[in-house]
């Protein structure tokens, strides 16, 4: 027998190594493919939404007569709810973010963040429930009381800050815990005295104000988180220099940090607006769901999202109603996409 057929140990080892090399390369390629598949699914899922909507809508490019008006009412209702909600959420979120970033320290800061996380975790269906069953009956006859309450609370905080601001300056970190009982007291007194019952006539308990308040509460944590992030970056960049020049923390905030992060504030408002207009449960439960052409916050509204939730399950596929609803979906998608895109661009420019 020839010696060539005997196994050559060196060759075997080399082949083994090569084989292992091949196996490893194959495995590596497979892993890469797997990861790329995941990424591809992510990209596909954002593309499939407009693609599906356009695919269903394009064969019927002409909007049927008489539908446009209703669509405009829904759009107006959506924008109105979003606007009121942002007006509620923005100042509160901004103030909370300022305090967390600039004035609270250490453990207090972590605690306040945790409270806002709790607020963020509350599902909107629960906010809708509370707005519907708890806030709506009271708010109907107490709109004026609410306004008075807000004004008195603001005045009380101003007065107390002027009188007690100096001695409490060192307690800045946990100032909210001092203000909190004060606010509760003011609220208790005003609600208890009930000065102006039915001073502002409200036709319906489910109105734009109620929706705006509930949606605003839902949007506060988002506003606070976005602004907090932007402020923190600007604060870290500027505060040492400002304080070295003799400015107080407030002066550093006013004259350097806030102007530097102004685009971030706009981005936060845009994001909140996008989130609120796309929100469904609060709008469905607390808005009254009647399409009304009115920008008055005392009137009810019907939003695009509520229309979808209410009408789509009953619409037959391919019917006229179905197309109109898909058009509403497309509008909602584009609206929130535009808000997010603009906010993203603004934030991106800020960070670069």
């Amino acid at each position: 027998m020839s010696a060539d057929l005997r196994p050559n140990p060196a060759l075997a080892v080399a082949r083994l190594a090569q084989e292992r090399h091949a196996v490893r390369r194959r495995r590596e390629r497979f892993g890469r493919l797997l990861a790329a598949t995941g990424a591809a699914i992510v990209v596909l899922s954002i593309l499939v939404i407009p693609a599906f909507l356009l695919f269903e809508l394009l064969p019927h490019a002409r909007m049927p007569e008489g539908v446009g008006g209703r669509f405009l009412l829904l759009l107006a209702g959506t924008l109105k709810a979003g606007l009121i909600a942002v007006l509620v959420a923005f100042p509160i979120g901004l103030g909370a973010a300022i305090h967390i970033v600039c004035f609270a320290t250490g453990r207090w800061r972590a605690g306040f963040r945790a409270v806002l996380d709790v607020l963020a975790a509350i599902p909107t269906v629960v906010l809708g429930l509370i707005a519907l069953t708890w806030l709506a009956p009271w708010l109907r006859s107490h709109v004026a009381t609410l306004l008075v309450l807000a004004a008195v609370a603001l005045a009380a905080v101003l007065v107390v800050s002027v009188v007690f601001g100096r001695p409490l300056r060192a307690r800045r970190s946990w100032l909210p815990l001092i203000v909190l009982p004060m606010l509760v007291l003011v609220a208790g007194v005003i609600v208890g005295l009930d000065p102006l019952v039915d001073a502002i006539a409200v036709d319906t308990p489910w109105n734009g104000l109620l929706v705006g308040l509930a949606l605003g509460v839902a949007a506060i944590p988002l506003v606070c988180a976005v602004i907090g992030e932007v402020l923190q970056a600007a604060w870290d960049r500027h505060v040492d220099a400002a304080i070295a020049l003799g400015a107080s923390r407030w002066q550093a905030l006013r004259s350097l940090v806030l102007p530097a992060s102004a685009p971030g504030l706009v981005a936060a408002a845009l994001l909140a607006f996008g989130r609120c207009t796309g929100e469904t449960m609060v709008l469905l439960m607390a808005s009254g769901n009647t399409p009304i052409a009115s920008l008055d916050p005392r009137d009810g509204l019907r939003s695009l999202s509520a229309e979808l939730a209410l009408s789509l399950p009953g619409a037959e596929r391919g019917s006229l109603a179905w197309q109109v609803l898909l058009f509403a979906t497309l509008a909602l998608f584009l609206l929130s996409f535009a808000c997010n895109f603009a906010a993203g661009r603004i934030r991106g420019r800020l960070s670069s």
Binding site: V43, A96, H99, P123, T280
Partner: protein, 420 residues
């Protein structure tokens, strides 16, 4: 800016600013605490045994019952139900009431047909004779007995079958099965995408594209996912499955109607950005030296990931999972389009082969909140039930979030050890 000590007016303005920002934060705290308190009170309160009152009216009429609601200057009194459940509500103006008694010999009787009635009697009514299932001397209960009664009421409602609807257990079960099925779908995809972003994509065009896609997905309104689920999954894919495999059952849809699988897929899309962002963050947190060391020893990217990075990022994976569930549990709107129902005839998970029934309709806690609040035939019963479901839902979400926070803290501590 003026060098040196700030002027007094500037100091004053600073104080006002600090206090205003503190007031905003205080308002947030009050809101969070207020919502939790309202939920606990309104969610648990109705199960606490209310006293039975006897109202003596101006015309000497006497009404025995429980005060169900105070409405401005009137009371809604729940009195004996004579024909069917919830037909005994009486509206009484406060001005008409002369006297409010709490008679110690008042009995609350529960009848076999779900009716409740109130009676004054010296002794316990005969059971059986008038179809009475249970009787309790409400005003004579001691505190301990009240606590026991509270527990009984709560358990009875949760388990259902007391004539007050299906209870919370089927909804809880539906919610849990749904989010578990969703996790099975979303976790592999999300982790794969995060790995691609972290290890392979880099800062180039593809990385930007994927990152942009994740950001855009996070901003899509949840109801839009619902529409996509209904149009694409239910009608598109489900309809095709029916035509190919279940043609003999048509026109009764099998997969062509809303069901568990399509809802899970829809929620998977909804939670995909949460998973990708959290996992990528966890991977990015691992010190670069670890990764470079592994690569320098001759391991490939994939081997490094499998043997080193993914095990190290395990808490991040867990966090991503918990956050995805927390997000999904609160998303109700899309479910309303893809198969959630008020009352499902059977659970999606049972002991019958194949155990999990992905085409079945299901119940959901969040939808139970909506449905009880708005569509209940008896609002005075429905709203407390909505609050009970809401309390359970919020408890679930807050627990999940707290768990995610704990895991994240452990993760941070672990890398602190690496850095030193």
């Amino acid at each position: 800016m003026r060098p040196g000590r700030p002027l007094p007016s500037a100091e004053l303005r600073g104080d006002v600013g600090v206090w205003l920002s503190a007031a905003c934060l205080a308002l947030c705290i009050a809101l969070a605490a207020g919502i939790v308190v309202v939920l606990v009170r309104a969610g648990l309160g109705p199960f606490w045994p209310q006293p039975v009152v006897e109202l003596v009216l101006r015309d000497q009429q006497r009404l025995l019952g429980e005060i169900a609601l105070e409405e401005g200057d009137a009371w809604i009194l729940r009195t004996s139900e004579t024909a069917r459940p919830s037909d005994g509500y009486v509206r009484v103006r406060r001005a008409e009431v002369l006297q409010v008694d709490r008679p110690a010999d008042a009995w609350v009787l529960l009848h076999a047909d779900g009716r409740r009635s109130y009676r004054r009697a010296a002794q316990a009514p005969e059971p059986g004779a008038t179809n009475i299932v249970a009787a309790d001397p409400r005003n004579a209960l001691s505190f301990g007995e009240k606590v026991a009664s509270f527990g009984r009421n709560l358990r009875a409602y949760a388990a259902g079958g007391t004539g007050e609807g299906p209870g919370m257990l089927p909804a809880l079960a539906g919610t849990l099965v749904l989010v578990l099925l969703m996790s099975v779908i979303v976790m592999p995809i999300g982790i794969a995408a995060a790995i691609h972003l972290h290890a392979y994509a880099g800062p180039g065009r593809i990385g930007r594209l994927v990152r942009g896609a994740v950001g855009s997905l996070a901003g899509v309104p949840s109801i839009v996912y619902g529409v996509l689920g209904l149009g694409l999954f239910v009608h598109g894919i489900g309809g095709s499955i029916d035509r190919w495999f279940y043609a003999d059952r048509l026109p009764v849809p099998t997969f062509g109607a809303g069901g568990l699988l399509w809802a899970a897929l829809t929620l998977a899309l909804l939670t995909l950005p949460v998973v990708v962002v959290t996992v990528e963050e966890g991977l990015a947190r691992i010190p670069v030296a670890q990764r470079l060391g592994s690569l320098a020893l001759g391991a490939t990217q994939g081997e490094t990931l499998r043997a080193l990075l993914l095990p190290l990022a395990r808490p991040a994976l867990l966090t991503a999972w918990i956050l995805a569930i927390a997000r999904a549990v609160g998303a109700v709107a899309p479910l309303m389009l893809v198969g959630v129902v008020k009352l499902a005839p059977s659970l999606p998970l049972d002991t019958e082969f194949p155990y999990l029934h992905p085409s079945r309709q299901f119940m959901h806690l969040g939808f139970a909140v909506y449905d009880n609040a708005l569509a209940s035939p008896d609002a005075l019963v429905g709203v407390p039930h909505a609050y009970a479901s809401a309390l359970l839902l919020v408890g679930l979400v807050l627990t999940l979030n707290a768990a995610a926070g704990l895991v994240r803290k452990r993760l941070r501590d672990r890398y602190r050890a690496f850095e030193s």
